[in-house]
């Protein structure tokens, strides 16, 4: 376990990490069971504070709202559960499969090799999408999770080339489906660059910066 990440366990459990630091820590968590063990240990202790709450009255309509959102598709997702416990491996194998697809088929008419690939993960460290970024600025998105996109909302893809430039929109899409976006004119993507997908009001963030909740995020790596 790297000492740098070990020192961040407290910050992480307190919710003080953000942006690239948070994404890097979460990738390390997926890979390092010892680090994950330390996080769980501290989290378990700190949650005694959460448990001091007096339970709030539950509005009678709340369960109905939840039930209305449960997709029948969840059955299929749930049945895959044992496999999904090794989600990182699964995501990695999909990355490889996607790579092979590009070399073999070039089915999207893109240059054969992405400059970087990022596996974007949720708050719960579940891989939710893969982003491949190409030298011509286009990005190829492969969702691994059926994101819930209410009507009037869109999914917006962002990257942060560096702190000076800040987050830049790479495009929007309406449904969880594989898609190629034109991207934005930016410096060549680098390993370690942050990518994320947020839920925005249609037709897209009104401010040109992310305003909605982050669904998934991750740091790019270069294919070997």
């Amino acid at each position: 376990m790297s000492a740098a990440f070990d020192e961040q366990v407290g910050d992480y459990v307190l919710g003080m990490l953000d942006g690239a630091e948070l994404a890097a820590f979460e990738v390390a968590l997926e890979r390092d069971p010892e680090l994950a063990g330390r996080v769980e240990a501290l989290r378990g202790r700190m949650q005694a504070l959460d448990d001091t709450v007096v339970p709030a009255p539950v509005p009678s309509a709340l369960w109905g709202r939840i039930e209305a959102e449960l997709q029948p598709a969840a059955v299929a997702v749930a049945r895959r559960a044992p496999l999904r416990q090794q989600s990182w491996l699964l995501a990695a194998s999909i990355v490889i499969a996607a790579g092979i697809g590009f070399v073999a088929g070039q089915q999207f008419g893109q240059p054969p090799r992405p400059v970087v690939i990022a596996v974007l993960v949720s708050d719960d460290a579940i891989p939710g999408a893969i982003v491949e970024a190409f030298a011509n600025n286009s990005v190829h998105i492969v969702p691994l999770e059926a994101f819930d996109v209410p009507s009037g909302k869109v999914l917006e893809v962002w990257t942060k080339p560096n702190e000076e430039i800040g987050p830049v929109s790479l495009g929007r899409f309406a449904r969880s489906e594989e898609i190629v976006l034109d991207g934005a004119t930016l410096p060549l993507p680098q390993a370690g660059q942050l990518y994320e997908i947020t839920l925005e009001d249609a037709p897209g963030s009104p401010t040109g910066k992310p305003t909605g909740p982050i669904l998934v995020k991750g740091l790019a790596r270069s294919p070997i």
Binding site: V9, G10, D11, V13, L14, G15, M16, D18, A36, G37, E40, A41, L42, R43, G44, R45, M46, Q47, A48, L49, D50, D51, T52, V53, V54, P55, A56, P57, V58, P59, L62, W63, I66, E67, E69, L70, Q71, A74, V75, V77, A78, R79, R80, A81, P82, R84, Q85, S87, D123, D124, I126, E145, D148, T198, T207, P210, T211, G212, P213, I214
Partner: protein, 183 residues
């Protein structure tokens, strides 16, 4: 919902939810929603937003119950983490929360009261209470304000009337000393 009684542990319920048993999700909601709502409320400060957080969490539980690994922690802890993460994201990333909602003097005082009350309400036998008690007062407050109600470093600095760097260093040193004490 016939065969699912209140006696089942959250661990058992999660295993059933992973097999797409809706009644198990309903039973988990029955036993946990009130606690989770209150935890979210401490952070987002508004009942409607807390409900939204809990709603999202239960939909996520339905989709991801199979991800829960009992070897890594308790089921209730897993739920708490899911709610905290969503509530903190709403607080930090949202253009959703109107700024004045949570930064008025009154709201800041309410948040501080909640944070201090959480510490005082910890059972005496709880090791965390002892360890928090060992910290000097400003560090303890800084850690509690950050963890319990999700104040940003800047808000903690303002609340404790110290420069940002000092607040950060108190929080970092506070949590480090806590980890040491809890070992």
């Amino acid at each position: 919902m016939s065969d699912i009684g209140p006696a089942l542990s959250p661990e058992t319920l999660l295993a059933r939810i992973a097999r797409a048993e809706r009644a198990a999700l309903a039973a988990l909601f029955e036993s946990e929603a009130g606690r989770l709502l209150a935890i979210a409320r401490r952070i987002v400060r508004r009942s409607d937003l807390a409900e939204e957080v809990v709603q999202e969490t239960f939909v996520a539980i339905w989709q991801r119950a199979g991800q829960f690994d009992p070897a890594r922690g308790s089921a209730r802890g897993w739920l708490t983490t899911m709610v905290r993460n969503r509530a903190l994201n709403l607080l930090r990333d949202g253009g959703r929360l109107e700024f004045h909602d949570i930064t008025t003097l009154e709201a800041m005082q309410g948040r501080e009261q909640d944070a201090v009350l959480a510490f005082q309400t910890l059972p005496d036998k709880e090791g965390l209470k002892h360890c928090l008690g060992q910290l000097d007062e400003p560090k303890r407050r800084a850690v509690l304000l950050t963890y319990v109600v999700g104040m940003s470093n800047g808000e903690v600095a303002e609340r404790l009337d110290v420069p940002l760097g000092t607040a950060k260093s108190w929080i970092r040193r506070g949590i480090a000393a806590l980890q040491e004490c809890l070992r």
